[in-house]
């Protein structure tokens, strides 16, 4: 039988597989649709931050450049108003510069970014005093000193600041690129995973399908083989354990059926064998008994005959000798009447005994004599049986009427015996109240022919309807001659010919024996 793991119903297995497939596809789709969108959003946000930082730094750079140019213009200006205009530009640019650096400082920065920003702030603190000195020197007309100061202390610092700020912007750009690259990798990886998941589920589903159809096909092949084996009569064949509850139940049911059949076959064989043995034993007993009984009968009959011969001799002697009249009369009575009467009774007894033994032997041989099946002309066969009845029926004053009888299939000698026995019984069990009337009829009934032997004799009480077919059973043993074998032989013969016999009778009214035989 299948293990517990294999007891899961196939239907449930398939449903589970389908649900898994749908779930996986759904999750993957959700991941694709929503997961990707959120990834993109995150990426866009990161982009915006980086852009913003780069923008702020570039604006700070522009402001620094503005301060540089305005300071130079201020130094070079010769008109007061021009100087003031330059100073306004410096103040505005410085405000922008400070503002942008402050805003950048407020942003979450990497250590590298923070370092660059800090260095810019430190440098910015150093250039303002240099600018004031340059303006003072310029106002004093010391242009040569202004230029050298600008060349030595202002310009390198401003350039260093610009470089740091450019580096910061470049760093942000690099980070942006890196972010983009990472996002791309992440995206591609996600898509790859999703595709792999879908493929995996598809492969799993295919495997599950192949497995389940494979199991069903294997089961069907097993069942076909099993039914072929059973049809061949091989009920020792067993179906191997099947996966799936329904299949294993079907296999179990078929195996149980085969087991039952095997058991009943064995039982039937045993009973048949027992019956055969019993039958053989019984036939052996009947055979031996009838032979051993025949031996003394041979003596009785043989010596009865001897006695008759001797009496005949004695009679001739008596007539030859001249005996006195009274003595002659007495001897004559003994020799001519009393002894012959005794001899007659002995002979009748031995005849009956002999016919009894013959009947027994016939019965024991019925099972051994081969049956010769042929189409039988029942009109001729029954006419013969009626003719054989001859003396007995004439003596009883019986009328026998035979109707048109359909043909049947059987063994001529055996079927003739059946009708002889039934006709003999019909004459034998007549009633003194009326003249015996016997009628034989027949009619086709499907695959069978049913013949009826009807009489108006003594009839048989219902309680004896089964008994009369038994061996040596006689309804009234004192009232009628015979060995009580006739109907037993009838039953036995019909059993061998595939026929049957049944009885309808009312005591005092008569009997009807129905004989069924296969139609010709």
């Amino acid at each position: 039988m299948a293990g517990p793991a294999l007891r899961i119903p196939l239907r449930l297995l398939l449903a589970l597989g389908l649900a898994l497939l749908v779930l996986t596809v759904g999750v993957t789709a959700w991941w694709g649709l929503f997961g990707m969108r959120s990834l993109n959003e995150k990426l866009a946000l990161a982009h915006a931050d980086l852009f913003e930082r780069a923008r702020l730094m570039n604006e700070a750079r522009s402001a620094l450049s503005g301060i540089d140019r305005a300071t130079l213009n201020h130094v070079l200006a010769s008109v007061r108003s021009e100087m003031e205009a330059c100073e306004v530009v410096v103040r505005e640019s410085d405000a922008v510069f400070s503002d942008r650096l402050q805003r950048l400082s407020a942003q979450p920065l990497t250590p590298r970014g923070r370092q660059l920003l800090d260095s810019v702030s430190v440098l910015a603190g150093r250039i303002e005093p240099v600018r004031q000195r340059m303006l003072l020197l310029s106002a004093a007309g010391r242009d040569g000193e202004v230029l050298s100061l600008r060349q030595q202390q202002w310009k390198p610092v401003v350039e260093e600041m610009d470089a740091a700020m450019a580096a910061f912007a470049a760093f942000q750009d690099a980070r942006l690129d890196a972010e983009r690259r990472d996002a791309g990798i992440l995206y591609r990886r996600s898509v790859g995973q999703a595709v792999a998941a879908v493929c995996g589920v598809l492969v799993l589903a295919l495997l599950a399908y192949a497995l389940s159809t494979g199991l069903v096909n294997r089961a069907l092949r097993d069942f076909i083989q099993a039914t072929q084996e059973f049809a061949r009569g091989n009920f020792g064949h067993r179906i191997r354990p099947q996966a799936g509850r329904e299949l294993s139940r079907l296999a179990g049911a078929l195996n149980t059926m085969a087991e039952e059949r095997q058991r009943s076959d064995a039982e039937r064989e045993r009973l048949t064998e027992e019956l055969r043995r019993k039958n053989e034993e019984l036939e052996q007993i009947v055979y031996a008994a009838s032979h051993d009984l025949r031996s003394p009968l041979v003596s009785v009959e043989g010596f009865t005959s001897e006695l008759k011969t001797a009496v005949g001799d004695l009679l001739s002697v008596v007539h030859v000798e001249n005996l006195p009249e009274p003595l002659l009369e007495r001897v004559s009575r003994i020799v001519e009447h009393e002894i012959p009467e005794a001899v007659n009774y002995i002979e009748a007894g031995t005849r009956k005994m002999s016919s009894l033994l013959d009947g027994l032997l016939r019965l024991s041989r019925l099972g051994r004599v081969p049956v010769k099946l042929e189409e039988l002309d029942m009109n001729g066969l029954v006419a013969q049986a009626v003719a054989a009845l001859g003396y007995a029926s004439r003596q009883a004053g019986a009328t026998v009427e035979v109707g048109e009888l359909p043909r049947c299939r059987g063994d001529g000698a055996m079927v003739g015996q059946v009708f002889s026995n039934l006709l003999e019984n019909a004459v034998k069990y007549r009633t003194p109240k009326r003249a015996p009337f016997i009628r034989v009829t027949g009619r086709r009934q499907g695959a069978l022919v049913e013949y009826c032997v009807e009489d108006n004799g003594v009839g048989i009480p219902p309680r004896l309807h089964g008994k009369v077919f038994e061996l040596f059973h006689q309804v009234d043993p004192r009232g009628s001659p015979g060995e009580g074998l006739g109907l037993a032989i009838v039953t036995r013969i019909l059993g061998r010919l595939g026929g049957s016999v049944r009885l309808e009778s009312e005591p005092g009214e008569g009997s009807r024996f129905y004989v069924s035989l296969p139609a010709a």
């Binding site: 003394p296 041979v298 009959e301 043989g302 005959s305």
Partner: protein
């Protein structure tokens, strides 16, 4: 007439049957010496010259009427042993029995009996069977056992 010197052995356990057979053989005109043996063992002892009882005489031709159903050693066994002996096998054996079972008849003929007579209950049939047996005995040439074989007077 059957040659006088042939001795008829009647192997029959039933005295009545033996008597009937004797009477009817005589009535049929057979007056040869008859010797009744009451069972199979007695027949074996007589023929093979063993045991207490009478033994066969050398040089005398015998004819055996053999009943099949006898207590102890039965007729079939006697027939088998007679037919196995290279001297005794020349002796004619006629099975006399109540059995008319074809298989039994077949078996006896297979073992080599000369004839087979069924004991009918009908006395007239029996006499007829014996008479036929007598006629058979009249024409058969019975060899001497341990002698010179077929004997003519």
């Amino acid at each position: 007439m059957l040659k006088r010197e042939v001795v008829i052995l009647i192997a029959e356990d039933d005295d009545a049957h033996a008597s009937l057979i004797r009477r009817n053989l005589e009535r049929a005109g057979i007056v040869n010496e008859q010797h009744v043996l009451s069972d199979g063992q007695a027949v074996i002892d007589f023929l093979f010259c063993q045991g207490e009882g009478p033994h066969r005489r050398s040089g005398v031709p015998y004819l055996l009427l053999l009943d099949i159903r006898m207590p102890g050693v039965d007729g079939i066994e006697v027939l088998r042993r007679v037919k196995e002996d290279k001297e005794l096998r020349k002796m004619p054996v006629i099975m006399v029995t109540t059995t008319d079972d074809p298989r039994e008849v077949e078996r006896c003929h297979g073992l080599g009996c000369s004839n087979y007579v069924t004991k009918p209950v009908d006395y007239r049939q029996f006499v007829e069977a014996i008479r036929r047996l007598g006629l058979f005995l009249l024409v058969v040439e019975v060899p001497r056992i341990n002698g010179e074989g077929g004997q003519a007077d």
